[in-house]
Symmetry: C2
Subunit: 321 residues, 2 copies
């Protein structure tokens, strides 16, 4: 696992992202150097190694999938008008909207350049997997935007949305890594499903940490989703199990945007605590986590080869539980 | 040529562009149904047929290249804040900015889906050609945006910019069509260069028509580039050959944005007429046109097979000369 982290770090450190015109490429380099956990390249490399793949064959795919992911963050930040990403100004704030649009478009094209760099007998299958994943991520983002204006969002709808917006890219990274190593179809499929449930657990944990995370570790102020009236698993589950009067109050808070939000955040957290929402979310995370593990168990490979992926998985859920 | 036009029309009529979520796909269908001349699919099919290719093998690539082109128009219209495209409201005006961003991103991914639909022995080469073209188009758009704020733009810089922004996509369409038909490398290269010079001639003609086009045929008010202070071949050439006092006046007009622009447009056109700018641009167009023809002459294939492409080329320059 440590070796994997070092490898991914080295792959990115060795890469050169600035070309001409610099007005286009400097925001791209800035975005790709912001860091982050590099989960998708890590998953891609881990899946590849599990089936005996060669690092040199997947290093560009690893950069490609991270470049795509960072492109989606860049455009999402513009659409959400987010001022900060990883504690630094977002591209649209540091430069401007047009720079964010065009640098993002170019990053997407650069992701393809990485994927097209090396030949592979499975290349068309690999590229199709990458592309269908990209389309699903866009669809997920649209559902997310739709739900902002939709009065009633069900938990099933929410889970469908985060599957598209978040889980399929983790699953796609694993599948691509496995395809590069010519893994058997049943193993590829089990690994993909592992990624889907890992991704769902990961997003649900993100929702939970927004309210109950350790600010110092999580790196942002808690309760931001409540301030933004964002429909996450927490509020949807709360509305399902709260008493009628609590429901009424929650609806009221999530329809308001007071200048000083702290009283609102406090009241919503009070209700969350009264109904024990934290445990409900932890149960949902645990369920997805167990499902993910079952799919990984079904992958037919020497168990010792699963160790880096298991370690990676555990590290993602160790953070601040 | 008529057969080619009918084929391209049929290919687009038969295609279904709407899926779920409709908020994402309706603007895409709207954009792809706005019409336009479909020059890139026409070039792709014509090049393919020239070397004996099969229509069924390139129909998706033809849709793919037009989908990419329309994606760039969609994002360009947003960046330029253009209200109209082909006489209809642009996506960002009819819907909103976020819809334009995300629908555009998705169109780009859909372009890839079309390109990945069929197998081909040359697929990696074809996809690389498509992708390098996409990157160049983005770079061209950035240079175009840079030049808006740059005091001195040379004609060489301008030609480099329109080569990237416009010509490489026409050249890429031709190259892709030829690659699908397994044309020889030297023929592919000559056809690519034909496309580059055709594209340059095409853009220069577009610049000319903006000032001297027949409004009824061209479909927009003449002099718009002057109103927008847009640096096109006309003003750059004019600044090169005008007298010092004319230069000074042109500089003054291109630094101003008066509420009533008509006096300004009239004065700039007066100077253009005094120095005979129209003839200068026509000479430049003719030069590129002749160069294009030379490259097409160098393509080693039965001359009768070049007829549709020659007809297509001539029809592009017949419009309103």
């Amino acid at each position: 696992m440590k070796k994997l982290l070092d490898k991914v770090k080295l792959i990115f450190d060795q890469e050169q992202f600035v070309h001409e015109p610099k007005e286009l490429y400097e925001p791209i380099e800035y975005t790709l150097r912001l860091g982050g956990k590099r989960i998708r390249p890590l998953l891609l490399l881990a899946a590849n190694q599990m089936f005996g793949g060669e690092e040199d064959q997947v290093r560009y795919a690893a950069i490609g999938i991270e470049t795509f992911h960072n492109f989606t963050l860049l455009h999402d930040d513009l659409m959400d008008k987010s001022p900060l990403r990883r504690g630094k100004p977002t591209v649209y704030c540091k430069w401007d909207e047009n720079t964010a649009i065009l640098s993002g478009d170019t990053m997407y094209a650069l992701a393809w350049r990485y994927f097209l760099r090396l030949p592979h007998p499975n290349l068309q299958t690999i590229l199709n997997c990458f592309n269908e994943t990209c389309i699903k991520v866009c669809e997920g983002q649209q559902f997310d935007m739709n739900y902002e204006h939709k009065d009633e969002v069900t938990i099933a709808e929410y889970l469908m949305m985060i599957r598209l917006k978040t889980a399929v890219l983790l699953a796609g990274a694993l599948k691509i890594g496995a395809l590069y190593a010519n893994a058997e179809a049943s193993n590829v499929e089990n690994l993909y499903q592992f990624g889907i449930h890992l991704g769902l657990a990961f997003q649900l944990q993100d929702d939970l940490l927004d309210c109950y995370g350790d600010m110092a570790v999580f790196g942002k102020k808690t309760g931001q989703d409540i301030r933004d009236n964002k429909k996450t698993y927490l509020i949807l589950k709360a509305l399902e199990i709260a008493t009628p009067s609590q429901q009424e109050e929650l609806h009221r808070h999530f329809a308001s945007s007071p200048e000083n939000c702290e009283a609102k955040v406090g009241r919503v957290l009070d209700i969350y605590n009264q109904i024990g929402i934290r445990q409900h979310v932890q149960d949902a995370i645990q369920k997805e986590f167990e499902l993910a593990k079952t799919y990984l168990d079904n992958v037919q490979v020497d168990p010792i080869r699963k160790k880096p992926l298991l370690e990676l998985m555990n590290s993602l859920f160790e953070r601040k539980k």
